[in-house]
Symmetry: C2
Subunit: 203 residues, 2 copies
C-alpha cells in the first residue's frame, strides 16, 4: 500500500490527519503537484486528474479523492469511528463534512486558486472576480459554524469526526489567501485551538 | 418521516432516484426554492442554508445534503446496494461520485447559476466569467467519463450506483445551460440512454 502525498497541500493533509487519528501508518511518496511528476505518464495512469492524494493498494487498486480514501480506512478499521457509528450519525457526519467542504473548503480553495500567481498553470482560466466573491462566502460559512459550535464540542456533535478534519485543514490553509477567523467568532476560535492541540494535527 | 423536495431542481432528484431504486416511498412536501417558503422561519429552522433536499425523521432529526440523505437510506436498507458492498467498492463509489460531482455536476451548476437571470437573487454575485469558464470544464469531464464508460457499463464499474444517479441528474440538468453530450462521446450517449430507461429515472 502506498499513499501519494503532497506535504503542503490541504487535501492530502485531510488523509494524513485521518490516518493519525486511526493510528494507521502507510508508506508515502511525495508528489510535487506543481512539477513534472504530477504530469508524468506514471502518475497520470494512477490518477488521470493528476491530483493528490492517491492511495494505491497492494493489488494495484487505486483510490483517489480524499474522502474516498478515508472511507476505505474507516471500513477496514472502524475504530476510532470518524464517520459515524450508526445510520443517523453516518448521515449527519456526511452532512456536516459536506457543509464544511462546500461552505469553507471550496470557498478558501477558490479564493487561493483563482488569485495566486503560482496557480496560473493549474487553474485555467483564473477568474479574479470569482476569487474575490469567495472571500465573503468563506466568512459567512465560518459565522454559521461559530454558531453551531456554541453548544457542542465538535462540528457534527459530541464526537470528533472527519468534518472536524476538513474544517481544520480548510482554516489552516485559509492563511495562504489571508482569510482569518474573526475575533468575535469565539466558539470557532476555541474549537480551532482545541482541535489543533490534538497530536494528529501535526500530520 | 418527510422529504422536503423541489420537483425541478437537480439535487432533490438525486434523492428521488435513489429512493426509487431502493423501492422506498417517503411523503414529500414541495418547496419553492425561489419563493418565500425557502426563506421562511420554519424552513430555515430545518436547514439554515435554505436549500433542498431536507429529510426530517419522525423524532425531529434533520438531515440535509443529498448524499447524506442517500447514505441514511443506504444504511437502514442496504439492498439494492447503491454505495458499494465492501471497503474497496464503497471507496470506489465514493471516488466516482465525487469525480462526477466536481467534474460535471458543479461545472453545470456554475454554468447555470452564474449566468441565468432567474438565479440573480440566489447566487450573489453572479460572475459571468466564471459561468463561461465552467462550460469547457464540464465538457472535459464528460470526455473523461466517455473514455471510462468505454469498457464498463456503469460509472463506478459493474454495478449501478449513486455515481450514475449524480451523473444522470447533472447531464439532464445541463440542458438548461445548453451543455449537451458531444456526438463523438458514444459511450456516454449509450450510458445515458440506458440509465434513462430505468424506471427510477422518472423520479
Amino acid at each position: 500500500m502506498k499513499l501519494y502525498d503532497t506535504a503542503r497541500a490541504p487535501n492530502p493533509r485531510r488523509v494524513r490527519i485521518f490516518l493519525a487519528e486511526k493510528g494507521i501508518q502507510v508508506p508515502t511518496e511525495q508528489v510535487d503537484i506543481m512539477g513534472k511528476m504530477a504530469k508524468s505518464d506514471a502518475f497520470t495512469a494512477l490518477n488521470p486528474l493528476q491530483r493528490v492524494p492517491v492511495l494505491e493498494l497492494d493489488d494495484g487498486t487505486v483510490i483517489t479523492e480524499s474522502v474516498a480514501i478515508c472511507r476505505y480506512f474507516e471500513e477496514i478499521q472502524p475504530e476510532p469511528p470518524l464517520m459515524g457509528r450508526n445510520a443517523v450519525e453516518k448521515a449527519q457526519v456526511e452532512m456536516w463534512n459536506r457543509r464544511v467542504e462546500l461552505g469553507v473548503f471550496a470557498a478558501v480553495a477558490n479564493a487561493f486558486r483563482h488569485a495566486h500567481p503560482a496557480m496560473s498553470g493549474l487553474e485555467v482560466p483564473q477568474v479574479k472576480e470569482w476569487a474575490d466573491a469567495n472571500r465573503p462566502k468563506a466568512l459567512e460559512a465560518m459565522k454559521f459554524l461559530d454558531r453551531v459550535l456554541a453548544d457542542r464540542p465538535f462540528v457534527a456533535g459530541e464526537l470528533f469526526s472527519i468534518a472536524d478534519i476538513t474544517l481544520l485543514c480548510a482554516l489552516d490553509f485559509a492563511r495562504v489567501p489571508k482569510i482569518a477567523i474573526a475575533d468575535e467568532h469565539v466558539n470557532l476560535k476555541r474549537w480551532h485551538a482545541q482541535v489543533s492541540s490534538r497530536p494528529s494535527a501535526k500530520a
